[in-house]
Each structure stands twice: as C-alpha cells, then as structure tokens.
Amino acid sequence: MPRYDPAGKPDETCQWRTVWSDLMPENPDTPPSDRSTVRVLLRLWPYVRPVRARLFTAAVIAIVASCLSLVIPLVLKWLVDGPVANGDPGGVWLGALYLLLLGITEAVLFGFRRWLVARPLAAVEARMRADLYGRLQRLPIAFHDRWPSGQLLSRGTTDLMLVRMFLAFPLTFLLVNGVTILAGYVLLLAQDWSLGLVLLTPVIPLVIVSNLFERRYGVVARTSQDQVGDLTTLVEESVLGIRIVKGFGRHRSQAKAFHALAGHLRGTELAKARLLAAIWAVITAVPELAIGTALVLGTVQVADGNLSAGTLVAFLSTALALRWPVESIGFMLAMSKDAATATERYFEAMDAEEEPDTATGTTAHDTSEGVRFEGVTFRYPDAPEEAPPVLDGVDLHIRPGETLALVGGTGSGKTTLTALVPRLHEATTGRILLDGEDIALMEREKLRSLVSMAFEEPTLFSASVGENVLMGAERAGDPELRRALGVAQADGFVDRLPEGTATQVGEQGLSLSGGQRQRLALARAVVGRPRFLVLDDPLSALDVHTEARVEAALREVLRETTALVVAHRPSTVMLADRVALLSQGRIAAVGTHQELLRSSAEYAWLMTGEGKNR
C-alpha cells in the first residue's frame, strides 16, 4: 500500500494556497511508521544481492580491522607490564615493531574495504535509479496525472543518495561496531569481570532510548523528505510556468510561496536536529559515566593490590576504544531511518501497478475493418463516484482508409477518446477493435506501432529535429524524414535552422514557436506511414496560409490510412470524409459535414458559433 498519495492530499503540493490562504503551517499527516526500519530496508535486498559477496567481504574486513584496534591495547599492556617494567630495551623495540605491523595491517584493511565497495555501491544506486526510471516510463498515464514529477524526481535523486550512504556506512558499521562492542566487552570482562560489568550497565538505557528515538525520528524524516519533493515540484513549475510568473509580475509571490515551503522544511529539519541532539547527548554522556565509575573502582583495586596498573591501562584503553563505536550508533540509527523512509518512498513509486498485459498473442486478422468502438465507456480511475463517466457508451466505426473528424464542445471528451486508441488510458467497459482485433488483447508495443499520434500539445524532446521526427518510425531514413517534413510544411523552416535537421531542439536546445513545434509533431506522426493515425487538433497553432498548405499535403497521407482527427473548426473538418459529433459522452451523430450542418443544431453551433443559444 503506497503511503504517499498526492491525490489524497491536495494541500501538500499546492503552493498557491500556502501563500494565499493565510500561510498555515502544512501538516502532511504522515501516519506513524507502521513498519520496522529493518523490514523496510530488507526490500533493498534484490539490489544488494548482486554485490553481496563484496559487501560481505568488506564487512568481514572491517570487523577484522576493528578487532585489530582492540588488540593494540593488549600489546600496550604487554609492553607496560613486561619490557617497560623490567627495563628491557630490546623488548621495547619488539613491542613497537608489533604496533607498527598491526597499524599497517589496519590501514591497508581499511582502504581495502572501501575499495571493495566503491564501485558496487555506485552501481547499486545507478541500478535502482535506472529501474525507477524504466518503471515510471511504463506506469499508466493516470499515475503520472496524479504524481507531480518533482516528487518522482526527488525519489530518483536525493532518496537514492540516502540509500547509498546507508549501504556504505550504517549497514556495515552497525554490524562491525556491534561485533566490535561485543568483542570489546568480552575482552573487558576477561580482564576484570567486575569492572566489565560496570561498563555493561549503560547498555540497557541506551537501547531503550535508541528505540524511542528511532520511532519518533522516522516520522520527522518522512515529513522532511516529502517536503523536499514538494519543493522540487515548486521549482520545476516555476520554470515551466515562467512566462506566466513573469507576465503577471508574480515572482515575488512565487518567492514567498517558495520561502514558506522552504521554511516548513527548515522547521522539520530543526525538529530532526532536536531529536538528534537528545540522543547524541545521552549516547555521549552515559558511557562516559560508566568509564568514570570503572576508573574510580579500578583505582581502588590497584591501590588494594588486586589489579595490576598495566591491566587498568589496557582496560581503560579498550573502554575508550569502544567509545567511538558506541557513540556512532546514534547517527547510524538516524542514517538508517533516513534510508528506510527513502526506501519506502522509492518503493511507493516502484510498487504502483504497471499496466496489466492482457495480450493473448492471437494472430492478427488480415481483414481490413478499420476502427470500431463498441459501447466504450470511460471514467477516470480516481474520479468521484457520483461524477458521470467521461465517455458513456461510444459506438463508432471508422471505415478502412477513411478519415473521420471528431467534433465536440470544449471538454466533451474528444482528447480522452483519442487516448483510448493507443491505450494511453484503458476503456472502462466496451471494446475497441482495430481491423477486427480487440486492442485490449493486443500487445501495447504492437498496438502503438500500428497507431501513430499527434498530441494537442506538441512535445519535443532534447534531441535533433531529425531524431524527434524519426521517433515515429521503426526504420526510416532521410527520404522518409524529408517526406514527413514536407507533409507538415516544416521543411522550409527546418532548413533555415542553424544546422538543419541536425539542430538540437527541446528543453536543452533551440526553442521553436508553437506552430513550428506543432508541425514537427505532425511530421513525427506521419513519418512511419502508420496504418492508423490519430490527430488531436493538429493545426491549431498554424496560420491560415500554412494551414492550407499542410491540409493539401496531409490529404495525400490520409488517403492511405485510417484516421481519426479531432477538429475544432471547419477547415480541419474538411480533411475528413465523415464527421462524428461527440456530445455528453456519446456519439450523437455521424455524417458528412454538410449533412450534419443541416441535421444537427449542436454541430452547426460548434462549427459556426451561430444558432443554438446557451
């Protein structure tokens, strides 16, 4: 069950509201952590698995290295009680040599451990990111409608960095330090069991405090990460909507909204710091107290002659060597908790249902039947119960080779209907047949290779003009590219670009005007000579002359294919053989333009703006 549901919490991503309705502190009521940190982190196993050998070896090496540092005090004890006490210079040299050898071994092992995990950890992070990217690309469009891309992005970047850091340190060192502490205690107890017991007493309060801390920290960590996601969304929107922000001189209120969100994040981070400060204080002070007690008791024992001075030195040296492993537990727990919430957020996106594949693998019918909609209804999966469906029983037949124009009022569901054909959305009930084959039973890959689309909003990607257009074809070369550019009347302006078809466009390239982008999107739709063509108001941004030329060229293309064209105006309708009128979720009438002008008041009104009054 994904926990973060942006759709369920509209307040969270809404920066305008935060400014304009009284700057209420946000309260993303994150439910308390109901799963243990360990269980969440266990989900990382599939990614860790390939590098488990190296990670394990690294952990073993770290344990050995840590144990070496515990041996050093023993050598010291031997040095103090033996050669030093006896005044044996040769023994002193030997002791120092042992120390040096131990030191060199420790250093090499430390480095070796890091070398072992460096590449694998970077690889784990990269693999998780690639998986997330691949997965998100394949999730239903409805998912993307709900999730702001900033939230997705923060999962793919900052969250994964937290996971990598967890694998690099806490994962190994919680284990290593645990073993070190355990071994250290064994040594301490072996040296002097009563003093050892004194040092054991703080363990119980520390465990209790850590437990308490972990639970409370988890909640705050989650809030903080979600707020980072919101901040990301706001930054992204502020760039995507920069023309509006500037056009209305709203950069101050945008900055205010940003400041409010960033301020909330600061508050959360400070709350995190309060918790951290408390646990650190406890973890620093309590062991210190125990060591102090041991020192006093030890001194008394040495004075009574029950203990050698060398043993006390070694004992305290061991105890102090254990201080860092104990102290580090605090921030390692914090890092683990951060990583656990990051993992949770990561898997929220990963766990979203991919579009189910209902392909049966039946062979294609050879019959040419065009496109048939049979009783198609559609409602958005997250639409309220009482809302009427967007499409409510659409029956429509586009004959093979025919071009059908789809006309309907603003918001009547035309775009939704076109999105059903390449299964960007799935029809709720009813069937859509391409040449007699139910698209729900086809592989999406195959379906989308048969159907080509031009969207209302022409999106170009960061690539060259040529690459952008040729996206629409499996195997196509320069001749096809030229032809498609010609159809879209884009060859003229493309040739005038600095590097012609090799010019980079899209987010990272030259920005083109709306009309230019629309023509490239159209070229992309027609370049592969698709069997079925779906065009959503493809000429809206063109001037009259260009529109006329594009139409003339497009007619040639439409002759060879079965096409559905969403039309807002008579000029676009003229491309079509017949027209279907979409009204209140149904096909209200089908006929030629002239027929419908006469028979349908609504159609006449949509085409001329006259007649039927609202």
């Binding site: 509209p10 400070l270 620093t284 890959e445 006329a548 105006r569 085409m607």
Partner: protein, 611 residues
Amino acid sequence: MTDTTLEKKTAPAEPSDPFDRDDLPAAPGATGALLRSLLAPHRTRVVIAALILLGREAALQAGPLLVAYAIDRAVPAFRAGDHGPVIAVALGYLLCAALSGVLQYAFVRGAARINQDALLDLRGRIFRHAQVLSVDFHERYTSGRLISRSTTDVESLRELLQEGLQELIGVVLSFVSISLVLLYLDWGVGAVAVVSFVPLYGLIRLYRRRAGEVYAERSTAIAGVIVKFAETMNGIRPVRAFRRERANDTEFAALNHRHERSNGDALLEMARYVVGSRLVANTAVAGMCLWGAYRVAAGTLELGVLAAAVLYMRRLYDPIDRLGMFLNSYESAAASLAKIAGLLAQEPGVPETRTPEELPTRTGGPGREITFEGVGFAYRTGGEVLPRFDLRIPAGQTVAVVGATGAGKSTLAKLLARFYDPTDGRVLLDGVDLRDLTTPDLRRGVVMVTQEAFLFSGTVAENISIGRPDATRAEIEQAAKAIGAHEFITGLPDGYDTDVRKRGGRISAGQRQLVAFARALLADPAVLILDEATSSLDVPGERAVQRAMDTVLAGRTAVIIAHRLSTVEVADRVLVMEQGRIVEDGHPSTLIEGEGRYASLHQAWRDSLVG
C-alpha cells in the same frame, strides 16, 4: 590498491557552450565568497557553537588526564589512607560526563540552526534569482538543471554544514588540544605527533585536488540525469505513444553510467586518502610508544604519564577518518557551490530598474499609449530578428498583428511585455520607458496571455487569482463568467476548488486557455496582449471570448496576435508582419478592400470557413 581512475573517463565530447556543459562562469573566488556570505549573518552563533564544541572537547579530553592522575597520585594516596584524590577523580569524571552530554546537546541544536538558516537563505537566493532571470535564460538553462541546483547541490552543502562543520571544528580542536597535552606530558612524544602532521597535510592537499575534479564531474553528471528524468516524465504521453521507452532506457543508462562512474571515482579517492592517512597515523603511534616506553624503561618518565600519552595517541588520530568525511563533503559542496555561484552570477537579461519612474495618472479610459521608438531586436542565440522600426499605438486602440509563423509577431509582443529588452531603441508606455517601471507598475500596465496555458499546482480558483492575488471569490467567478469559463469550472468535481493536479491532465487545452484568459481579465491591465490565446478554443468558445472582448477591451489598449482572423475582426487596426517588418498597417476594412497581403490572407481564411 589498483588505481581505477587511470582508466579513461568515458565523458561525452564536451560542447563549447557553457550552457551545454552546465558550467556557467563565476568570478574567481565567488564560491568562497558565497559560502562566507551565507555564514556571515550567523557569525556570532558560529563562534558560540565553536566555543561549545571547545568545551565539549575539553570535557571529553579530560578523561586520560584523570586516568594519569588516578594511577600516579590517587593510588599511592589511597594506599596511604587518603581518599580525597579518588573522590576528586570520581567527581571530575562525573562533571566531565555531564558536561559533555549537555554541551553535545547544545552544539547539535545550535549547529542545526546555523545550518538550516544558511540553507534557507541559499535556497531562497537561488529561487529568487532564477525568477528574476529572463525567459530566454530559462529556455537554455532548463528546469532540470535548476532543480538540480536547488535540490542535490543544496543537499551537498547541507551535508557539509551539518556534519562537516562539526567535524572540522572537532578535528582541529582535538588535533591542537591533544598535541598540546602530549607536548606537555612529554616533549618527545609531542614532537612525533607534530612531525606526523606534515605528511598528513600533503595527503590532504593531494586528496582535495583530485576529489575536487571528481566532484565537479559528478555534479554535472547528476544534473544530466535529472534533466533527462524530468523531460521524460513531463512528456510521458508522447513517450508512450511513440514507444520511446527502450530508447529512453538506453539514453538514460548512458547518463546514469556517467554519474555512476564519477560517484565510484569519488568513493575511491576517499579510500586512497584513508589508507594514506591511517598509515601515517599508525606509524606515528608506534613511534610515540617506542619513545615513551624507552623513556619509562630508562626511568625518566612516569608510568601513569605514558598511560595517558598512549590513550591520547589513540585519540589523536581518531578524527582522521572524520577529517576525510569532512573533506569529502567539502569538495562535494564546493563543486555544487561553484555551480550555484555560476547561476547566481548570471545577470538578469531584464534587470529591475534602480531609478523607477511613475506612470502618469490617466483620465478617461484605462488604456495607455504604446510607442516603439527605433526598436530593433536580435536574440542572443540567433534566430528571429526585428530590424529597427517605429510604431505608435494610441491609448484604447485594439491592434491585430498577423503574419506567417516566424514573422516576428511573438517577438514584438514579448518586447512589449518586457520579457526581453530591445537591442536598440526604447519601448514606451505613456511616454515612460518600460525599463524604468517597477515590476508591479509594469504588470498593472501590461499583461500577456500566451498560447501555452500552464496551470500551477493548486485549485482552479488559485490559478485564476494569479492575475490578482487579493481578488475575492466573487471577482474570480465574475472573470470566469465574462470569458465563458464558469460553466465548465462549475462542472468540475469541486468546482472552483478542484485541484488541477488531481485532474490536471484532464482539463483540456481549450479549457486551460479559458482559465488563462480569466486570469488576465482579473489582472485588469491597461494593455492586454493576446498571443495566440484562443488557438485551442472551438468556434463557440472563440465567439464567447470575442463577445467578452467587446466589453473587456473597451477603453483598453490591446495587441492581438492571431492566426484565426475571426479574432481580428474586433480590431481597430491591423499590422501585417513579414520577416520582422511591418509591411501593412491599416483599418481591417481598408486592408480587405486593397490587394495586399492582408486581403489575400483574409480571403484564404474566408475560404477555410466554407462549409
């Protein structure tokens, strides 16, 4: 240890444009200056935090001294029946433990405050600066990079400030204090410690240099990943429809791999540093033990002093790893800060005036007069160019600008809305240069509605009220009604309170244009620019907008850019543009009667309406 960085880096060919390389120039020293300016306001608190840390360090470092005291003084005293020294040791340790806990708490909280305030400041600076930069800049810089700057790059500064500051102060303090204590206990042991700092310093310098390069590369690499990620998610529909998933996987893998490599390189640099510094440290410890033990054996040093010295030695080099962590976060933060400094060094293409002028108060209609005086314009990136021209639009006039795509219509509009400043000449509003107007004045004066109607997260009502944040619900609804948007809005699940993100993809392009229109109406500007603002509307929608415009535009100055000449019919005057020049100028009816371009355009349009 194998040296993996010797392998050739598989970086793509470096383009020469700083934008493409994601490497905007900043003045030398700008990175350091940025960091200083972030911390400067918190100078006092930094000092206090350092003092607290000093106290904590003193409390922690007192331990071994107490051990020495206990062995050399308390043991004999206790044997002699004097319990005083033992009690003193007990009290001393108790005090130190309590103090270290309390000071630790105070420090973490104090440091977090400094840290968070600095981050808030930095985030705010990035955001505000980005908002001031021109549209032109954003088209080249991309939202992905800006996101990268304000998230991952800020994050690396957070790491530096959160852990790094403590590490650095702690490391320096313990190096200094322990060295001093060692020198005090025994000059020979202390000298070994001090000498060992020389190779350590060399190691640190070497590490800094190498890690600096790796981190700069890593920061660029992650920005590349983010740009691709954001682009894909924002264009998910065409990605799916054109089966780009696999091709994208491949492209993303390349970017991701570049990041993975630099990430691994960074970790390896760290490994190298750890080995080197540990070697130096452990050798030094052995040397110190040798010296100390020799002296005790010779009877010139007390046993307790050696014990204390040995305990301190172990501690002396404990922070080495932490120093490594600090250097790590420092280099990573330095690389990020350099990129941020580069962004902040960008001059706004359209700077805010320093000597604002007031618009004259007008009597009569709300409209104002527009004058283009010897205006010429060329994009920095090349592309569309306007040769020098003059144009006067009297107050209250509605002017339609027509012409083929790329004729310069949008550029004209953007100059008027001051998205750009002209390369030559001036644009005047009621005789005042647009460059001399404050932003609020300018936006009360001129508002532009564009074809791309972007909706922000939030409700429909909030999106409309961007036009005038203090508008009441009644005013918002009135604007929506005037433009014919009220009907569809009330049909949404929560009416005006519908969250557009919830249904964002489902408000059609035409409906979004209506919202954008309502937004502009609400802003109530003296000059309204409509750039293809009705392109996605159907005929009735367009008619409704036209009817609304009859009342809305009354008295206002308006510039309408439209392909569809129906919108132009309300105009008092038509300008025909061709390749950046105004080639025809006149009343629509006069132009239609002539034989010029407008007449033919008009004829073509009439033909397109034939039904």
